[in-house]
């Protein structure tokens, strides 16, 4: 193995793959029962963190950054003048194994620019996964990109070796896609998703009857949307995320703040700041939908098209629905507890357990670790002291903002100084 050559390729092809935010290595279980290499317990591990604070869990690379497409938002678009490189199949296999044995990674995330055509590319991705599983007896995590337009047969094979498959929808609206990726068709994205979904359903059904049915993509599929490239609202984004969760049983939808990589008059110009705060609020909303029992229309709707940036979406919802509060911590059901600003699912669990023994008061709640700066205005507990709802939601919001410190303060300081 020529280390210098590999190193060059690695730096080009890792750099090109870094805009894919998915790095999860969880959700797929694979045991190591033949004394082979690696396992997957269903919990992911972040082996390191980049200087931008993102998890490094998988060896995330492109097989090649040669591409026949010319999508405006993409660094590897064919008209972009950058260094191109391509790995050989065996090189990727070796790199994965050597890194894995040293406990650097949980597995491989392999994506690719599209060369020749979809099937030609997909076939190569599949053969990397196949080699890892069959020749190297590798049980670590494998995430393969589904190439838009790939055939059903290849998608079927991919799922037999990979833990997760994903197609990035990238642009949340059809019109945006037409503008920014004119040679890609919406249906090409949907086709492999549909196939993977059906295969997973079929696998689950067959497994009930025949236990030895070969596993199919145990960690399911995911997708990613770019935020802030084509002028869509938060409502557009979350409604389309909800659509993908429901329609294709997605495990995860990722939101990626658009990072300007090229000058193009259809896109925000180079140097535009990455919308990290907006991205964060979208993820919070995503969590509310998946774990807290909210429905998307409660948080985003016709009168409320975008999320507040200065407060989290749960607090924002609560301020719009003050009539539902205060909530009695010692009586409310789980669903309602989960809707209190400043109380997360871990605290909900602790409250439910603890109140079997006694009525909880403020000291208990503080010790359990709820965020009092927000929660105190929305609850009553075993105490005569509680917030009497005498402020309008606008004043209450300001009161909460004044008494709390956010890591995002720097975004708002300039606005506040206007009024002071």
């Amino acid at each position: 193995m020529s280390f210098d050559k590999i190193r060059q390729k690695l730096s080009i092809l890792a750099d090109a793959a870094k805009y894919d935010v998915s790095c999860s290595s969880s959700g797929g279980k694979r045991s190591n029962n033949k004394k082979g290499l690696g396992n997957n317990t269903g919990f992911g591990i972040c082996h390191s963190y980049t200087e931008d604070g993102r998890c490094v869990s998988l060896l995330k690379i492109l097989l090649t950054n040669h591409c026949i497409y010319d999508c405006a938002y993409c660094v590897t678009r064919k008209s972009n003048d950058i260094k191109r490189a391509a790995f050989k199949i065996q090189e990727v296999v070796d790199l994965t194994i050597h890194f894995y044995r040293r406990n650097y990674i949980e597995g491989l995330f392999l994506s690719s620019g599209i060369f020749k055509n979809s099937d030609f590319t997909m076939e190569r991705l599949v053969s990397v996964a196949k080699k890892l599983r069959l020749e190297e007896n590798f049980n670590g995590y494998i995430h393969l990109k589904s190439i838009p337009g790939a055939s059903d047969e290849l998608m079927r094979e991919a799922g037999l070796y990979a833990d997760r498959l994903s197609v990035n929808i990238e642009i949340p609206t059809k019109s945006g896609l037409k503008l920014l990726a004119p040679d890609k068709k919406h249906e090409d994205f949907i086709k492999p998703m549909e196939k993977v979904k059906n295969e997973i359903l079929q696998y689950k059904a067959e497994r009930k009857i025949i236990k030895s049915t070969p596993r199919y993509a145990p960690a399911g599929q995911s997708t990613q949307m770019i935020v802030g490239a084509s002028g869509e609202s938060d409502r557009d984004i979350m409604y389309s995320a909800t659509y993908y969760y429901k329609k294709f049983n997605m495990r995860r939808v990722y939101y990626s703040g658009y990072i300007p990589v090229i000058n193009d008059n259809r896109l925000p110009s180079l140097g535009t700041e990455v919308p990290v705060l907006r991205e964060n609020r979208l993820y919070q909303t995503d969590w509310l939908l998946r774990f807290y029992g909210f429905s998307v229309s409660e948080i985003l709707n016709d009168t409320h098209k975008n999320l507040d940036l200065d407060i989290d979406p749960k607090l924002s919802w609560a301020l719009r629905n003050l009539h539902l509060f205060p909530i009695d911590i010692n009586k409310a059901d789980k669903q309602m507890l989960a809707r209190i600003p400043g109380i997360g699912m871990q605290s909900v669990f602790k409250i439910l357990e603890a109140r079997k023994f006694r009525n909880l008061d403020w000291t208990h709640l503080k010790a359990i670790g709820i965020a009092m700066n927000r929660a105190q205005y929305f609850i009553t507990c075993n105490s005569k002291d509680f917030y009497k709802q005498d402020l309008s939601s606008y004043d209450l919001k300001n009161k909460i903002l004044k008494s709390s410190k956010s890591k995002y303060d720097k975004y708002f300081n300039s606005q506040l100084s206007l009024f002071s």
């Binding site: 963190y49 990072i259 909880l360």
Partner: protein
């Protein structure tokens, strides 16, 4: 007022459970339980040296098994491994609490000892997870994947199953520099080992013990690590929050 009793034990888990047995057997109220290594004489106290007795320890443990869930037992052991000064006494009142209780439905998070144990166990669990993540093996000439670490808590006993299962087909050593012992997997079983050449100042594996291409793989890893950072999103605070500085000297990507 009766003088307070101090129970001194050898630092092992069985030793601690033997102390608990002693407390119940001799009906001692408000004892202090300490490791030999941190014992100091105080005025107006009675000191008892507790000899580790596996049978007594087992009796206490069996009692605990009857009254607690598997998750609570794991938390109990994790909290013990935290080695936080005074954790033994928190664990003792935890046990006393559990043993006096009739039923065992639910966890009383409004009791301060129970909450404390669950919080400490969480800290230890986090450290265990970090070790599963931050161990960096280096391949030596005698074909053993070797790593040195310095965990905040004594978590090597907790990470054995993970590494044994994952790296079943390679020999490996994970060595705790702070506590001066390591675990060695010889392709069949785990042995506890001590290596004299390691010390707090000599925590690196000497490069003449390594295979020549080991450095090349480390360089590849560093190259990869550096290429995946998105410069326009740089966030050092978040970086250090996830990857605290005290671990850096053992991380290849942060030392090259």
């Amino acid at each position: 007022m009766n003088p307070q009793t101090i129970l001194i034990y050898d630092g092992s888990f069985d030793g601690f459970l033997s102390c608990v047995f002693f407390v119940y057997h001799h009906k001692i109220t408000n004892p202090i339980i300490r490791k030999e290594s941190e014992a100091n004489n105080q005025l107006f106290t009675i000191t008892e040296d507790i000899i580790t007795d596996k049978n007594n320890a087992l009796r206490v443990w069996k009692g605990l098994l009857l009254k607690t869930s598997r998750h609570q037992q794991q938390d109990f052991f994790k909290a013990f491994l935290s080695e936080i000064k005074g954790v033994e006494n928190t664990l003792l009142s935890y046990i006393q609490n559990i043993f006096t209780k009739e039923t065992s439905t639910g966890i009383d998070f409004s009791n301060k000892d129970i909450l404390k144990i669950s919080q400490v166990a969480k800290m230890v669990g986090r450290e265990k997870h970090r070790m599963e993540a931050f161990v960096r093996f280096q391949l030596t000439k005698d074909a053993i994947y070797t790593a040195t670490v310095e965990p905040d808590f004594n978590v090597l006993p907790l990470i054995i199953p993970h590494f044994k299962d994952r790296y079943a087909d390679q020999k490996w050593i994970i060595y705790d520099i702070k506590r001066n012992y390591g675990i060695y997997y010889n392709l069949k079983t785990i042995e506890t080992i001590a290596i004299d050449s390691f010390s707090k100042t000599k925590f690196k594996i000497s490069s003449d013990l390594l295979l020549p291409e080991e450095k090349d793989f480390q360089k590849l890893w560093s190259t990869y690590f550096n290429s995946v950072t998105i410069k326009s999103r740089k966030n050092n605070k978040l970086h250090k929050q996830h990857l605290p500085k005290r671990y850096w000297k053992y991380l290849i990507e942060k030392t090259q």
